[in-house]
């Protein structure tokens, strides 16, 4: 693996991978990231509600949905946490669901902070 590829893997977003998937269009990537953050705002609210009500089916569904969206944008850390959330929902494990939801939110904030200093197109 080359040094730049290694660097990409360490970042919360793999720019090379995602830009390869969408034809190198950085403006489009910005649009997709905006959709991602907007959707997350709504999904976060639904997730908190589902955890409070111990609605594990909903937790699983939301985890699955966040996993798909994260995978599409090559957000590998977020995808992994979303998978943990989906699994916690499927296994009806409240504590793991709570932890995964918290971790996911932390990772989203990390991603936002990263993107402020490193907007799409800066590193490819």
């Amino acid at each position: 693996m080359s040094e730049s590829a290694n660097l990409n893997k360490l970042r919360p977003i793999d720019f090379c991978d995602v830009l390869d998937r969408i034809g190198g269009d950085t403006a489009f990537l910005k649009e997709l990231l905006n959709i991602y953050f907007q959707e997350y705002t709504e999904k976060k609210r639904l997730l908190e509600e589902a955890i409070t009500q111990e609605d594990f089916t909903k937790v699983c569904e939301l985890g699955h949905s966040l996993k798909g969206a994260s995978a599409n944008l090559s957000l590998s850390r977020l995808r992994r946490v979303a998978f943990a959330l989906e699994t916690a929902g499927r296994e009806r494990h409240l504590q793991l669901a709570q932890e995964a939801a918290r971790s996911f939110d932390t990772e989203v904030q990390t991603l936002k902070a990263f993107l402020e200093g490193n907007p799409p197109g800066k590193f490819v």
Binding site: L32, I35, A69, A71
Partner: protein, 313 residues
């Protein structure tokens, strides 16, 4: 060509949409299985990309529903899923999907797979055109290209049913070329065919768009007249008789005088409840017309002397 993208995840949907539009397709978006099913009521939507996991009705269920439809043209379905185990792929394809792709989607591969789908849709369209052409050929008389006996009988049955529902009479005129055998014997069958074609052409010019004309037998032509009662059918019969016999028919060899005898009947008469019975009554009237010396019109149930114009062959 329109493609349905049924995907609840907005990012996946947007990426698919952008790619598909770049490839020259028109994207139709649905965010749930139910919305996809509603969109698929549009018969022009023949290619679809369905996500397996969707809220409510999932992609697999949409597939099954599509395959249970009878009257629609073929819809080519690519099922998308993050599930990549063999049993998932088998389950997806068994639900009626034509193709299966795992997420995240490789777009070069998707483009090629959509082209495969388009080829299959185009092939089906070509087959449907040929099927329609073959059906038409099978429904028409080879020489005159008017409806053949079985097809015209079908039309008559349908028209009788409609007339019964709408309380409107259905008329039938059965025409027979007078001394057609003599024309064939004297001039030969090729000239006989030319004469028959000209007769049909003259008759077609004198009927309404809603009327149907067919070849009932060798030289017997039948015309079905929706909403035509006993008051009018005599006039129609006379008009048709005159249209054929007034001027001789020009053929490759000679101008041949051709006349027709006509037997008319309508569904208002007793004993005409079915197509066969109505034709039988019209045929009885035609026999009477022949008996009265040909080149005349007889309406079943009306025994007045017919108008006549003698043309010798």
């Amino acid at each position: 060509m329109k493609i349905l993208i049924a995907e609840d995840d907005q990012i996946s949907s947007r990426i698919l949409q952008k790619n598909i539009e770049n490839w020259g397709y028109k994207a139709v978006l649905a965010r749930s299985g139910q919305a996809a099913w509603e969109a698929l009521q549009d018969e022009e939507l023949r290619l679809s990309i369905l996500d397996w996991m969707m809220p409510g009705m999932d992609g697999v269920e949409v597939c099954r529903k599509i395959r249970h439809r009878k009257k629609y043209k073929y819809t080519y379905i690519i099922l998308l899923s993050a599930r990549d185990r063999k049993q998932d792929i088998i389950a997806g394809l068994s639900s009626g999907a034509d193709d299966y792709m795992t997420k995240p989607v490789n777009f070069l591969e998707l483009r090629a797979r959509l082209q495969t789908g388009k080829r299959i849709i185009d092939l089906e369209d070509k087959l449907l055109v040929i099927q329609t052409q073959l059906k038409d050929i099978a429904s028409r008389d080879g020489l005159t290209k008017i409806w053949n006996r079985s097809e015209i009988s079908k039309f008559l049955s349908e028209e009788l049913e409609r007339g019964l529902r709408e309380k409107k009479p259905t008329g039938v005129v059965l025409l027979d070329l007078d001394h057609f055998k003599k024309i064939n014997d004297f001039y030969g069958h090729a000239i006989g065919d030319q004469a028959l074609l000209q007769v049909v052409s003259r008759l077609k010019r004198k009927i309404r768009k809603s009327d149907k004309i067919g070849r009932y037998g060798g030289d017997e032509i039948i015309i079905i007249l929706p909403n035509c009662g006993l008051d009018e059918i005599k006039k129609v019969g006379e008009r048709l008789r005159l249209a054929v016999g007034k001027i001789g028919i020009r053929t490759d060899l000679d101008t041949v005088p051709v006349t027709v005898s006509a037997g008319c009947a309508t569904s208002e008469l007793p004993g005409t409840a079915s197509a066969d019975k109505l034709i039988k009554v019209a045929d009885g009237a035609l026999l009477k017309a022949k008996g009265r010396g040909r080149n005349c019109v007889v309406v079943a149930g009306q025994d007045r002397e017919p108008a006549r114009e003698q043309i010798n062959v």
